[in-house]
């Protein structure tokens, strides 16, 4: 493998890991809120968070440009105050992967939390533990399989992110070219040998992740 391939691999792993950490932290919290709380606007919020799952990644990427671009709704303030823009940096790749992978985490984790016997949660409260402790001592241990499955799926999705990443991070060799983007570049420039290697590698990695996720979602395996 030449240097650029290794770089792409390392960048993809780095982006996917960072995105997954964020997805697990924020996704678990959101899944808990959606599973256990009732509030006005719950349904629209759920739809909004799920949208990236069904939208073409380019559309998601487009929205990200609208929000985070140098002239975007949030991005312009960021640029104004710091002189920095997230666009075309590896952080943008993390952001794109995060948004696209988040619904996978929320869906699996929410289902796992909802399947925890409600009486166990009530018992925990009556035994003097508040919501926070109950989450860590009862809900988390009993829904961890679903959460791990969600995290694995999110990681795989983040690794494979292409469309939205291309929109916000671009295709800068040695800077933002993640592996899927490097594959696209190789294929479009006719470098089949390089593309073949990466494609085979990627297929194997993805299959492994799916296998792990499958095993985790079966009860009592781990």
């Amino acid at each position: 493998m030449d240097g650029s391939v290794l770089f792409s691999l390392r960048l993809s792993l780095q982006v996917a890991t960072a995105a997954t950490v964020l997805v697990v932290l924020i996704g678990t919290w959101m899944a808990y809120v959606l599973a256990r709380k009732n509030f006005r606007g719950k349904e629209p919020l759920d739809i909004l968070l799920t949208l990236p799952l069904v939208l073409p990644p380019t559309v998601t990427g487009y929205y990200l440009i609208l929000f985070m671009g140098r002239n975007g709704m949030v991005g312009k303030y960021l640029f104004y105050w710091t002189g920095w823009s997230i666009m075309f940096t590896w952080y943008a790749a993390v952001l794109a992967s995060f948004i696209v992978a988040l619904p996978l985490m929320i869906k699996t984790t929410r289902a796992a939390i909802e399947s925890v016997d409600k009486n166990l949660i009530k018992v925990s409260y009556t035994l003097g533990h508040g919501e926070f402790k109950t989450f860590f001592k009862v809900i988390l241990p009993l829904s961890k399989k679903g959460m791990i499955a969600g995290a694995v799926l999110s990681f795989a999705r983040a690794m494979g992110e292409f469309g939205a990443t291309l929109m916000v991070a671009g295709n800068i060799p040695g800077k933002t070219a993640t592996m899927p983007i490097a594959i696209y570049t190789s294929a479009s420039s006719g470098d089949w040998a390089k593309a073949n290697g990466m494609v085979v590698f990627f297929t194997l990695v993805s299959a492994t992740f799916l296998y792990i996720a499958n095993r985790l979602s079966k009860r009592g395996v781990w």
Binding site: D117, S124, Y125, L127, G130
Partner: protein, 370 residues
Amino acid sequence: MIEIHVEKNLGNFSLNLSLNLQEGMSVLFGPSGAGKTLTLQTIAGLVEPDSGTVRVNGVVYFDKKRGVNLPIHRRRVGYVFQEPSLFPHMTVFENIAYGISGLSSEERTRRVNHMIGKMRLSGLEKNLPHQISGGQKQRVALARALVTSPLLLLLDEPFASLDNPVREELRFDLLRIREEDHVPVVFVTHDVEEAFVLSDEIVVLNDGKVEQIGSKEEIFYRPQTQKVAKFFGVKNIFHGKVTDIRPGEGEMTVWVEEQSFQSSIPYREGVVVGEWVPFCIRPEEIMVLKEDRPIKKNLRANIFTGKIVRIIEKGAEHTLFFRQSQDDYDFEISMPNLAYRSLRIKEGQLVRVAFKWESIWLIPEGTCVV
């Protein structure tokens, strides 16, 4: 003392309670859908009433007007559900230790072990919930609630899904714990026997309202409403028209139109001739007379001749259906097997039955002038 004065509307059901429960074992009794569980949940804070107050030993748990609603985890109530609801990922020991906080680990272990001994769970400490029996699970659930020294123990039909012998054992365990710990208990059941074995005080709920509160004797022998009488197995409830009153003798005569018989019953002040009064006799208070025996004085006023139309064997006792009119049957009589066998009665046989004047109870509710 537990003071509950609450209202809660749930669409087609509404709870409207005003209750003061004494320390001791209070049994909430009533049919399904009477609001028993909802009452417990209101005390525990699992359900928020629409209005009213809940106070336990002077501590305000809930007060709508003052905007007080103590969170569940600060109420210090032990709650045990019909299902044991043990944490499946924790051992028996860990389950019991779950609610203890703010103690050193030695003290914690000491307390849990003490409770394990008390609840006859020794040797099961390291087992997971799925490795122990239903009765053991429910004992763990009780231990888990008790070890935190709750101000109040709320038990929601905790023994309902257990086999009979196990259920009896657990009832005795609970009574033993009550004697040792003196923790006030509110126990929900729809089982008459359970209500009697356990209660110091019975609250009969029906349709979200209190039908009657009282001791076992009061509920059993002096039901205040016809519903209470029915819930507690008073099968013989009649409506009699007063035909004669004898306040001096403490008696009055009533004519029961439906079953066409006349009876002499205790006089109640204020009753006038022509008034209709509901009264009842427990099935075990009616006796079948033996031909050769002299009739005691207190039976003489209420003797009836008729047929035994049906006999049903019910384990330790027999139920006999007696008819003297055109109705299906007029009285339901129940007697222990021993008494039944000595009478040698068969279906269709002509007999004389009688009931003591003292066994008749006038139900205060529903008295009306027609």
